[in-house]
Amino acid sequence: MDWGFILERTLSAMIGPEVVVYALAAVGLNVHFGYTGLMNFGQVGFMAAGAYGMGITVFWFGWSFWVGLLFTFVYGAVLALILGLPTLRLRADYLSLVTIAASETIRIVARSRVMKPVTGGAEGIDAFAKPFYDLSPFELGDFYRLGPFKFLGRDVWMLVVGWIVLVAVTLLVSQLMKSPWGRALRAIREDEDAARALGKNAYSYKMQSLMLGGLIGALAGLLQVIQKASVQADTFNPVITFTIWAILIIGGPGRVWSPIVGSMIYWTIIVFVENTLRQLPAGTRTNLESWINLSDFNIGMLRFILVGLGLLLLARYRPQGIFGSREEMALDRR
């Protein structure tokens, strides 16, 4: 069993592309749920909107990557409006129903045969990210090493840009939440009627929150497809939304650094478990195989089972998440 290899993989995963993409999407969800109390169960829909904002602009209209970047935000904002306008005046549960349905609708429509000329159907869209990688100061095909970390040049470039965006957006959200605007959002999370009685237009604030978090989600979707260099409908499935929720819960909702740390923990566990299972010594492997067939598929599933177990333990022993405060959580029950 090659512990050196497992360690290298695990440490690289701690700062890898998945961590950045999911952390950024979770920052958006944190704006929604952590600060405003909006139950968005379709964050992946915003990621898809951002990804197709880019993909369709380049693939269908033949416009440049940089126009695509603009459309990433346009698509994200339009989706927020479509979801928010009819639901945000209603009871909180309606938003969760509509978001989960909308995110699946986007995926299914995007992969359909009818939409193939626009979205590339199930095969998707590629060859749009070249202008991004053309800017790279790193050799795209070479491996780069720094201490225990090892990445391909193209990933190094994506990671440099991704982490800068992630930290900048996190700091921006942190500043906003300390402002009177953020105070109004938190007040709406605590008691919408109290905020309304004190002159706050709750509907408008919830819409702004949905848009901000949605735009951040769209940006995360864009980073994801730039890294994969393709936009494929089926990568935007509901499991991603639930993963983003798990990440936010691990970190603790309503805390600035929760998305980043939650995402690092989540992906570290996933990659560690996967690589350990693949690297088991022959004896252990045979023993285990008498009980479960360690195919790639099963290893993939086992990772999630173990993460699920971890979440159960978290719920039992630290329900407030890494950064949350137990004292604060207890206030809900008063």
């Binding site: 605007w181 938190r186 007040a187 999370r189 109290a194 905020a195 309304r196 009685a197 809900d332």
Partner: protein
């Protein structure tokens, strides 16, 4: 109410039903400006529902509500607050996971930093924020909540929550303030000390409407009393006139059924 009194709120023909139940059915209620008006009546009389209608939290089935002569029927609460009309809740609504200070600061109207784009630049709202904080601190002292300043509001006792709501409503600098049982659950000594701030609201020219079950409190601070029962106004007048009103006594004893009462007081 003399003819010279200006009108703050006028409700005409306001009806609100829940299923088959007529929770509110008032022909005419007039709240004089710059006075303290008490709204009393047995449980279930429709006082809170009437508050909800006035403050935009519920929609009237029919009828009109005017504020300073302007028709405000169906206007949402946040716009009413901007017009200087604020209310508190019978079941307190504190923002549990925010500090007491933050609860108060939220109440200030016209905050520049509440605009998303302005919020991005601290320099544009920091001065105003500091002024708001000074005002909040002064109110916290006035309501004996200074020691709770940085605690989560969710840790407060029931009585403290009532005080917090009142202080928070004052942060909006309201022209009309509507208090739904502000003294309920507040210990008598403290309740007594609440009377002065409420009276001083009137002395500053503001209009106060409050719901209260304690007749001693009503007698002590109210200029006018409106008595509701089963959704209707059954009497109106000064506290003294109400005390001796037959229909009111009947209503409280539960024998009142009709609507024939003329209200007894000066009309």
């Amino acid at each position: 109410m003399t003819a010279a009194d200006a009108v703050a709120i006028r409700a005409t023909g306001v009806v609100k039903t829940f299923g088959g139940l007529k929770a509110v059915d008032v022909e005419r209620i007039v709240i004089p400006k710059g006075r303290i008006t008490a709204l009393i009546g047995p449980n279930g009389a429709g006082k809170t529902t009437f508050f909800n209608l006035l403050s935009g939290f519920d929609k009237v089935d029919s009828g009109t509500i005017e504020l300073d002569g302007e028709d405000i029927t169906g206007m949402p609460p946040h716009r009413l607050a901007a017009k200087g009309m604020v209310r508190t809740f019978q079941l307190t609504k504190v923002l549990s996971k925010m500090s007491t200070l933050e609860n108060l600061k939220l109440g200030a109207l016209g905050q520049r930093g509440e605009n998303f784009f302005v919020a991005l630049f601290r320099g544009l709202w920091a001065d105003q924020e500091a002024a708001i904080e000074r005002r909040a601190d002064a109110l916290l002292e006035r309501f004996n909540l200074g020691h709770m300043r940085d605690e989560f509001a969710g840790t407060m006792s029931g009585g403290q929550r009532k005080l917090l709501e009142l202080a928070r409503a004052m942060m909006t600098d309201p022209q009309v303030i509507m208090l739904d049982e502000p003294m309920a659950g507040v210990n008598p000594a403290l309740a007594q000390s609440l009377l002065e701030p409420i009276k001083s609201l009137r002395d500053e020219g503001r209009t106060v409407v409050f719901v209260e079950h304690n007749m001693d409190v009503v007698r002590e601070i109210a200029d006018r009393v409106i008595v509701m029962s089963e959704g209707r106004v059954i009497a109106e007048g000064t506290p003294e006139e109400i005390r001796t009103n037959r229909a009111v006594v009947d209503a409280y004893l539960g024998t009142h059924r009709g609507t024939e009462s003329d209200g007894g007081g000066a009309q």
